[in-house]
């Protein structure tokens, strides 16, 4: 569990060409370490999925990567910027180094091919030397790994349930034993029981195969349980990043605090649920200051004018937060909110 495997540096994405594009990712910095589960949480439309698509260069038009770097360290220890690879290099790196499980379990499989063929065509593209028999054996092994009997290799996607399809997708993603598994809301379309089964399976497979996971979801309670670290996104930037326990017990950013306050705790005393007032910002009309300022209960004058930078808080803890309250030059006359100082 040493060293970074995926480093996203100052990644910027615009939607729309022309003079007035919408800035959807506004300089995202994120590091994924080897063997780690990194949770990425935030409201709808905050750019979580865009981040996953942009980091793998799968962003469909009109999305456009306007800047940044995505450094991937492969098994041999070579660092490569995914955004700088040629098409052929990119094709080779995809699935072998970074595999993705998408949101729609229902629509991620080609409806006209059998499961077995879809499991093997990716393997064949990367290891052209394998015989048909080896490919089929590998596909069967993959299916068994996610708890589906190998005789379903000849099934078509429509013959499988939603949970099975998503497990087939996970099996497919692990076909080449990638180093990084990006999962974009992998369990949204499934019921809670299936959600838990699948996540437990992924965690167990991670322990066995040792890949790193980026788990994107809006379900913070889920992340608190499975993630090692959590990054909270708001309006196309990361506003807080810390270990899962720190984010859960001691949120530093007012938005993270609001997010955690909006679902009921499983343990401890009952408390009133509090939503976050206001609505997500319009990314086309962001003010100069902190994007969360209009909804923030602790907004100060400086929040309206200066955009806070993601960095360690004043207390020197090993975490990062983008909020003026935690900045070094907090004016002395401001009463520091107690719930952010636990």
């Amino acid at each position: 569990m040493t060293g970074p495997v995926l480093e996203i540096r100052d990644l910027r994405v615009d939607y729309g060409f022309g003079d007035d594009p919408t800035h959807v990712l506004r300089g995202v910095d994120l590091t994924l370490h080897r063997g780690e589960v990194l949770g990425l949480a935030g409201e709808s439309g905050c750019g979580k999925s865009t981040l996953a698509y942009a980091a793998t260069r799968l962003l469909p038009p009109p999305g456009l990567i306007t800047g940044g770097e995505v450094w991937l360290t492969d098994r041999e220890g070579n660092r490569n910027d995914i955004l700088g690879l040629t098409d052929a290099q990119l094709r080779a790196a995809r699935w072998r180094d970074v595999a993705i499980v998408f949101q729609g379990a229902m629509s991620s499989l080609n409806p006209v091919f059998r499961i077995g063929r879809q499991l093997t065509d990716g393997i064949r593209a990367h290891r052209p030397g394998l015989s048909a028999r080896d490919l089929e054996a590998r596909a069967a092994e993959l299916l068994e790994m996610v708890g589906i009997s190998a005789d379903r290799l000849r099934a078509y996607p429509h013959q499988l349930s939603g949970g099975m399809r998503q497990r087939v997708m996970i099996a497919m993603a692990l076909a080449l034993e990638p180093q990084v598994l990006l999962m974009d809301e992998p369990t949204t379309a499934l019921d809670v029981v299936m959600q838990r089964q699948i996540l437990e399976q992924i965690m167990e497979l991670r322990d066995r195969l040792g890949f790193s996971v980026v788990l994107i979801t809006h379900d913070v309670s889920l992340l608190v349980e499975v993630a090692d670290r959590i990054a909270i996104m708001y309006a196309g930037e990361i506003v807080e990043e810390a270990t899962a326990a720190d984010v859960y017990r001691r949120p530093r950013h007012p938005y993270a605090h609001g997010l955690l306050g909006s679902f009921p705790p499983l343990h401890g005393p009952r408390r009133e649920l509090a939503g976050i007032p206001g609505s997500p910002p319009d990314l086309q009309r962001l003010a100069a200051g902190c994007p969360f300022a209009p909804r923030c209960p602790h907004a100060m004058d400086v929040c309206q004018q200066v955009r806070p930078v993601l960095g360690p808080p004043r207390t020197g803890e090993a975490r990062r937060v983008a909020c003026h309250l935690h900045g070094a030059d907090l004016p002395g006359d401001v009463a520091f909110p107690a719930e952010l100082a636990r």
Binding site: L58, P61, R91, R94, R96, N110, F113, D121, Y156, H158
Partner: protein
């Protein structure tokens, strides 16, 4: 397997219904064939021959409708469709058998060519949406909006009359005897080029538009993104994932178009005086040749049915979701 069985039963039933209608409708018409024939020949037939004509058409026997129906089936199964009035006394089956290969050959081949060409071009344009390729679309829209007969007439005016590159009508050089020689085949191809070209030009745009739109729709499907993410070559993504799914609606319209090859070529064969089944039907209608009309309708109905059958099976082969079990 039961899927194919059920479809087969359905088509047998439809064919039976169509053939029975073909039997019933002429019997609802006023008058009888003999009066019609004598009227057509305008005195060239001796009125004394009326009785022998009645015997010939089987009108002298007093058969019940059921007996007639059984007899109709018996003759039909022997390939006997009666005698044509216009080409008296040539059997209708001979006329149809002579006309059918021309239609199937000319329009069948041009429909297949238009489908393949249009689908390939549509795949390309759809895959490269948002580039210069999209500027080809208005052209295809224009051609799909042009009425066919007008396009045919313009083609004749330009290429046959003004430039004299192609003959304006007919299906082969009348000075030749139809044989299987290179010369004759060359003449058929030469005469068929202009009509085939107009059919292709007027129908290809529909295929281009259909395929392009489906490609755009399918390209944003998650499984296409997954295919990219898997690192498959773009060829594999286009062919196996995008086009493979986008072609499904194309296939069903294609097989329907094949069904209309026989029935829908009336205008083309009239414009080019091409001796196919459409032209024959047109002649039969203008000359009140009921047996010939009936024969043409039967062939057209059956070919639509066969095309539908092929469509069903092709679709089932291409899309596993339609093969419901049980």
């Amino acid at each position: 397997m039961s899927f194919f069985l059920r479809r087969a039963v359905f088509y047998v039933f439809t064919a039976w219904a169509a053939i029975t209608l073909n039997f019933v409708i002429p019997r609802l018409l006023p008058g009888d064939p003999v009066t019609a024939l004598i009227g057509r020949m305008q005195g060239r037939i001796d009125s004394g021959a009326e009785q022998s004509l009645r015997v010939l058409f089987g009108l002298d026997q007093d058969m019940s409708l059921w007996q007639q129906y059984v007899e109709y089936w018996r003759l039909l199964l022997h390939g006997d469709l009666g005698l044509s009035f216009t080409h008296f006394p040539t059997p209708v089956s001979d006329i149809v058998a002579q006309a059918l290969p021309w239609t199937v050959g000319l329009v069948g081949i041009s429909t297949v060519v238009a489908f393949l060409l249009g689908t390939a071009v549509g795949t390309g344009i759809g895959w490269r949406r948002g580039t210069w390729a999209d500027s080809l679309l208005p052209i295809t829209t224009f051609f799909s909006a042009v009425p066919y007969f007008w396009l045919g007439l313009i083609a004749i005016a330009v290429f046959a009359v003004n430039l004299g590159w192609f003959p304006s009508s007919g299906s082969y050089d009348r000075g030749m005897v139809p044989t299987l020689s290179w010369e004759f085949v060359g003449s058929v191809v030469y005469y068929g080029t202009l009509p085939a070209l107009t059919v292709v030009i007027s129908s290809v745009s529909g295929w281009v538009l259909g395929m392009r739109n489906m490609m755009v729709t399918v390209s944003s499907e998650d499984y296409v993104t997954v295919a990219h993410a898997k690192g498959l070559s773009s060829r594999a993504v286009v062919v196996g994932y995008a086009a493979r799914n986008a072609i499904l609606p194309q296939v069903s319209s294609f097989t329907l178009a094949l069904g209309f090859v026989v029935g829908g070529t009336l205008v083309m064969e009239m414009v080019f005086s091409y001796q196919g089944i459409g032209y024959t039907l047109f002649e039969a209608v203008t000359t009140h040749d009921y047996p010939l009309m009936q024969g043409c309708f039967l062939v057209i109905t059956l070919s639509v049915l066969v095309a539908n059958l092929v469509a069903d099976f092709a679709y089932a082969a291409l899309d596993p979701r339609t093969r419901q079990e049980g």
